[in-house]
Structure formats: C-alpha cells, structure tokens
Symmetry: C2
Subunit: 181 residues, 2 copies
DNA sequence: GTCTATAACGAGATAGAC
DNA sequence: GTCTATCTCGTTATAGAC
C-alpha cells in the first residue's frame, strides 16, 4: 500500500495540514501543493473543501459512536473504565482528526460535519464522570477528556507508552474509591 | 466604566469573537459589526489585525511570566502547588485569551505574538510535574494543563466554584505522596 | 483524471473627505 | 476619530482543453 489513489493522498495531506494549521488556516492551494497536483484536481475528487473535512471526520465520528454505544449497557464503574480505555485508544488512532475536531474553536464544532459528535462527547463525558451529576465529577471528566486529546495532538510525543500513561492519569484523576459516602 | 473608549470596545469585541470563532475565523468586518463601526475605524486604532491579537495576548502573557518567575525559587513540591493555584486563577481571569491561545492549532502558537509564551508554558509544565523528568509525570502535567484551559473556555460553566474544583482535580491527578520510592 | 485559465467573492489594508 | 470608496491579494469554485 505504498502508492495509493490520488483521492486517498488528498485525504492524507488534508488531515495533516488541517491538524497543523487548522481548517481555516489551510487553503486548497496548500493541500494541492502537498499532494503535488492542482486545485482543480482536488475539486474533481471532492465537491468542496467542506466535503474533504466531512469525509475526514466521518470515520472517527463513527467509531466514537460505536464506543459510546458499547458503554450504554454497562454500569457506571464499568462504563467509566471502558470509556477511558476506549477513548485513549481512539484518539491515538485518530490523532490528526482529533486535533482538527478538538483544536477548533467552539463555533467550529457547530458545523454540520460535526453534528453527530456533540451528543457522543456528552455521553463520553458522563461515562468519564461515572454517570455522577456532581459538578466536581463532571468538571474533572471534562478536564481529562480534553487534556487527553490535547496531549495526543502534540506530535513530538511518542505513542509507544502514551496509551498506558494516559489511562493511568485518567484513572488516578477520576477513580477515587475512598470517597466521602 | 459603562461607556469606554472605542479602542477598548474594539479589544473587548475582538477578544469575544477570537475566542468564539478563532483568529482566522474572525474578520475585521465581523469585529467592526460587533463594535458598531467601520473597518477603517478599527485600522485607525490598530495598525493591523495582528496588532489587535498581540495587544490581547500581551497582558495575559505578562502575568503568566510573572507566575513562572514566582515559581522559580520554590522547591519542587511548593512550586507544584503554587503553579496549580496560580494557573487556575490566571485562566479564570483570562478566559477568552486562554481560549484564543490554547484553542489555536500548533502552528498558530509559532506566531510572533506568542513568542514569549512557549518557554513559560514549558516552565509551568515542569512545575506541574513537580520538576520530575519521568515521562509519566510530564504527560500528566500536560494533560492537566491543557484540560484546565479547555474547561475554562466552555462558556456554559459557572466560574463560581470552578476554581476550587479545578485545583482539586489537578491536585488529585498530579500529587501522589504514596509513590513508589 | 488532470490541467490552465478565470470567474466570483471576501479578506486586510489604504486614501481622502468630513 | 470616523466614514465611504477603493486597491490588492488570496480564497473557493467553475469552464473547458487535453
């Protein structure tokens, strides 16, 4: 799978540049230069710049949905563990997409391409908080969720042991069995 | 201080919109509309769009530098606590600026307006990790640092008890006296 | 499927009247 | 200090040749 189709190559380069410079910060010119083709070729394979974005997000969004669905039948504690493991795994496999999605400004996530994502994030957040409604737990969940994404985005970090490290950090911060009860 | 100068109003609106839509996602047109003036008026008060950005970041960057300077003479444990308290306080007072700075893509931080910030972030990260060089600790520090910023950005969260909550989350995740030693 | 050329538009910035 | 009008450039997207 060394030489792929132009279409796939466009997606690869676009993911790279969107993650690095942001969606608005990347022009079709930039992508075309990276691919080694013209802007017109880009727009032959994709209807618009938005369409490229949508296709990039699609796979990641689908997998996120699957993860959330897997959590639903579990009890709070099991869902919390599964959410941490699953989410760390997911963002490690979709680093650039995560950078693109999470690095964007609040308003960016309102775009139609991300419509499915927001409820999934909420569900994941609830799972991270072990389905507690305590504001402290919810905030902690948000901190870890977004912190994990941001760290994974940093390209100078090796993914080797990152997985275990991130899971460890999240567990330490979120799971505290010796609670006031 | 109800009615302020046009200049201050421009800064206020720009901070709001940059935080919401991103720097690239906000046009001078947008800011002018928010202020209720023309683009030309914006550029009478500021030399360029970049200049508006630089002035917005300046105060936050200076205070961050002061915080980092305060940490330096402290020992690792004291610096860690002071860093957590100080940083949470700082981002709560500079919510929009934090959103702007931290929400941007990696490449965005390379802009001259942010040149001073990067070493400060590194110092803060080291303090969060209690000056440990253990990769686990460093990653945990990064997760908390960026997680805190991202949560504060979320405008639907009340700042009332956010301070104590965030400090609590960070302490729980970063300070672990019962360490392997 | 890929290209060059160009259209149509919005951006940042400037000129000059008031 | 603020405005309208304009300039210049870069952007997305289209047209049509090869």
């Amino acid at each position: 799978m060394v030489r792929v189709s132009t279409r796939d190559e466009i997606l690869r380069v676009a993911a790279e540049q969107f993650a690095h410079f942001g969606y608005k910060g990347t022009s079709l010119q930039d992508i075309a230069a990276g691919v080694g083709c013209s802007k017109a070729t880009l727009l032959y394979h994709f209807a618009s710049k938005d369409t490229i974005l949508a296709e990039l997000v699609e796979a990641a969004a689908r997998e996120l949905g699957e993860l959330v669905a897997r959590l639903e039948p579990l009890d709070a504690a099991a869902a919390q563990e599964a959410a941490i493991d699953g989410f760390v795994d997911l963002v490690l496999r979709y680093r650039q997409e995560a950078a693109l999605i999470y690095g964007g400004m609040p308003q960016f996530l309102q775009e139609p391409a991300f419509a499915d994502l927001l409820p999934h994030f909420d569900a994941l957040c609830a799972a991270f908080a072990a389905r507690s409604t305590d504001p402290d737990e919810c905030v902690a969940a948000k901190v870890l969720l977004s912190g994990i994404v941001t760290v994974v985005i940093d390209e100078d970090l090796e993914p080797t042991d990152l997985r275990a490290t991130l899971v460890g950090v999240a567990r330490r911060a979120l799971i505290h069995p010796h609670d006031k009860d």
